[in-house]
Every structure is written in C-alpha cells, then in structure tokens.
C-alpha cells in the first residue's frame, strides 16, 4: 500500500471520528432530511412487499376454496368472493368508526396517522407514520390507539415520523399500577423475541407491593414527561420480587404487530 492510500484511509477515519462528535440536534436534522429523500423508495419497497404478501394470501384462500368447493358452480364462487370483499369493507368501516369515536371522546388534540412501514433494523422497535411536522407532529409526542399506548415520536421529517414503540428499551415511561400507589418505569426489553409484539418490564416497584396478574398499568404523567396521565400501557402478567425491589412483566395493551392506524397526541383540546 503506498503512502497516498494510507493517507486517504487515515483521512477517512478522521472524517468518521469528526462526524461522531456531531450533536444530537444536527444528527436529527440530517436524519429527517435523509428520511424525506429516501421515503418514496422505501414506500415503494414496502408496497411491493405488501402486494406480494396479499397475493400469497389470495392464492392460499383460492386454494382452500378450490379444495372445499370443487363441486360448487362458478356463480356460487363469485358470490362468496363478493361477500368476502364486503366483509373486509365492513370491518374497515367499523375500525375507522371506532377510531373517529375515540378521537371525539379524547380530551387531547389527536392527529390521525397511518403506519407506512415497520422498522428494518435488528435492534430497535420502531414504525414509520405518514405524518410529519407539516401536520403539527413534533418529537417526543405520545402515539396511541383506542386500546392504549403505542409509543412516542422520535425523528420527525416534513411528512413522516419515526415512532419508537413501547416495546423498545429506549422508550421509557413513568407508570403506575391501577388500584395501588405503586409507581415505576416501564420500558421494553433489549432484545425482544418477536420484533413487533414483545413484552414490557416495569422496574423500581417496591419489593412488598401487592401486585397481581391482570392489574392495569397506566401512564403516571410525571412533570415534564412526554406522556399525559391515564393512558393504558398494558396489563401485569407476572410480578417478581428481587433482592432490593420488585419488577413486573407487562403485556402491552395494543397488539403492535397488527395496528395500522394510530393517533399522535399533539396537545390539549
């Protein structure tokens, strides 16, 4: 290797070291711009993946129908397919009606958003939503559904935002257990067995707390925190007494693998 090559390599490492000293604010801005640039391509990739998935599901349904209904006439098959389509529309209608009702009932100002893609990294549990700072979304705002807490916004670009799910360890929430005076910190675990479902842990509970399974865990709404009080996080699955404190295993209230529509809490009404 000649001297010029060594100098180039050292120079590049120096650039890397310099970049690692950049502040979180400037990195956030860089990430937001990067997201905006990449967004159309990632959306296309996700759409292709969804189309392939739904194509596979359609084939499976057709196969099943073929086995079950080999003797049925073509007209019968067409009617069944039509019926299935109507059911899908009905369930979507019902889901959206519930969502609208939730928005009307909520004391907070909510921005409805749709999940456009799920996270592609190995270590973080995040999703992307189709609302950004143009829609009034800012960083560190709670994201909910009518069932409970989904997570909080992190990087926000013009028309998109990354939401850190409650199952991620870096999403830490001040929480309380309903019916008790117990308060603690809820977070995900570092490596979830299933990326989108997952369990939560509630730390710093008192060792002798009377906590039983199925007790509801709610946000405590600590001062200067991101989360207002009373949002359902999940239910206690198990309480473990440790040497100095207690820890609860919490099951999230929202099925994070199935959600499609969410709301961002952008302030009070």
């Amino acid at each position: 290797m000649n001297r010029l090559n060594i100098a180039l390599a050292v120079g590049l490492v120096a650039v890397g070291i310099y970049l690692s000293t950049l502040s979180a604010e400037s990195l956030g801005a860089m990430k937001a711009n990067f997201m905006s640039l990449l967004s159309p391509f990632l959306r296309t990739g996700t759409a292709v993946q969804q189309n392939i998935g739904s194509f596979g599901q359609r084939l499976k349904t057709l196969d099943e129908l073929e086995v079950e209904n080999t003797q049925l006439k073509t007209e019968n098959r067409a009617l069944r397919a039509e019926n299935a389509l109507m059911r899908e529309t009905q369930s979507e209608n019902q889901r959206l009606r519930l969502a609208l009702d939730f928005r009307a009932r909520s004391p907070h100002r909510l921005v409805a958003a749709r999940i456009i893609s799920r996270d592609s990294s190995t270590w973080w549990n995040t999703v992307r939503i189709n609302r950004g700072f143009e829609d009034g979304v800012e960083a560190d705002q709670p994201v909910v559904t009518d069932n409970g807490l989904v997570g909080k916004t992190a990087t926000v670009s013009k028309n998109e935002a990354i939401v850190i799910l409650v199952t991620d360890e870096s999403c830490q929430i001040g929480a309380k257990i309903e019916g008790t005076r117990e308060q603690g910190i809820v977070s995900g675990v570092r490596v979830q067995e299933h990326a989108q479902e997952g369990i939560l842990q509630m730390k710093f509970l008192s060792k002798n707390a009377k906590i039983t399974a199925d007790m509801e865990v709610l946000t405590a709404g600590v001062a200067h925190g991101s989360f207002p009080p009373g949002i359902v996080i999940g239910k206690v699955r198990e309480f473990q007494r440790r040497a100095l404190d207690g820890q609860a295993v919490v099951e999230p209230a929202v099925d994070l693998s199935a959600i499609e529509d969410v709301f961002v809490l952008v302030g009070k009404k």
Partner: protein, 182 residues
C-alpha cells in the same frame, strides 16, 4: 473510467440493497433475524475496486448505514454517525487485501469475509447499544440475530459473486482497450 463506472454501480447496488432489506420482514423462525444485503454488495466492491474507490465506497456505505439506522431517543443518539464509516474502512481494507489473488481464492475469501463482516457489524451495533444503555442483557435471540444474517450472507455470496462478475464483464473496460491498442 471502468473503476468509476464500477463505483457508481456499487453506489446504486448498495442503495437498492438497503431498499430491499427494508422491505423484507424479519424471520420469526430465526428469532427475528433479518436479511442483510448491503454488506454483501459492499464486500464485492471492496474485492473488485482499486483502493481509493474502495474508500469512497466505504464512506458512502458507512454514511448511508449510519443515517439509515440512526436511533434518536430522548435527545440522545445510540450509535454516533461515523462509526460505520470507520468499520467499513477496516472491513474494506481487509477484503481488498485479497484483490489480486486468483479467482477461486477471491470467491472463497469474499464469501467468508462478507459473512463474518455482516455478523461483526451487527455485533458492533449490539455492543454500542449495550455500552450506551448500560448493563449486560444477553438473550438467545441476540445470538441468532447476530449470527444468522452472517451465515445467510456467506451462503448467498458465491451466487452473488457469480452474477455480479458476469454483469461486471458486460461493462466496457475503456482503459483495458486503450492499453491493448497501444
């Protein structure tokens, strides 16, 4: 000229690899491990491109990777920008060291180092997160998520090498032609 075309093709290849791996869902049967294609494309570039072009590729790959995976939580960054640039410079130097070896050795080394490089990249991410968050929280799933993508890349690498080298031969080598004319 050929190196420049190769470098541009590599930039495009890395970009497509990121888009494709973003669209691919995690594999539940492998404890949520994901397919990683970008390190494979980079390693191919490292074994084919001359040293300065490899450095440009390492910079692009590292910057793209860091921005793609940048995780901001509570105003803090878990893996600083630039870390991947340094990682891919080191990996590129290692892989590029075998550039002038015979074709059979190159395929073998490329497959091995792409696999090891992919797993080492994931391990580096895990260690940086652990260092940032504190505590040692090891799970079986973590081992799967580090090792399985590396094994998948190592298995895919010979096929990728075959396809990529065929495409590479389709790109006209102007410099070679000029040398032949002389």
């Amino acid at each position: 000229m050929k190196a420049l075309i190769d470098l541009l093709a590599l930039f495009l290849g890395v970009f497509i690899a990121f888009v494709v791996q973003h669209a691919l869902p995690p594999m539940d049967g492998l404890h949520g491990a994901r397919v990683m294609l970008a390190p494979l494309v980079f390693c191919y570039g490292a074994i084919v491109l001359p040293f300065p072009a490899m450095l440009a590729a390492a910079f692009y790959m590292g910057l793209f990777s860091d921005l793609f995976y940048l995780h901001l939580a509570g105003g803090e960054v878990e893996i600083p920008l630039g870390v991947s640039i340094i990682y891919f410079v080191i990996l590129g130097c290692l892989v590029g060291g075998f550039r002038n070896r015979p074709e059979a050795t190159k395929i073998w080394v490329f497959s091995l180092l792409s696999g090891v490089g992919t797993s080492a990249f994931l391990l580096m991410q895990f260690l940086l997160i652990t260092w940032h968050r504190g505590g040692w929280d090891w799970a079986e799933a973590a081992a799967w998520r580090i090792l399985a993508p590396g094994v998948m890349v190592a298995l895919l690498a010979p096929l990728f090498h075959l396809i990529a080298s065929h495409i590479d031969h389709l790109i006209p080598d102007f410099s070679r032609r000029r040398v032949q004319r002389r």
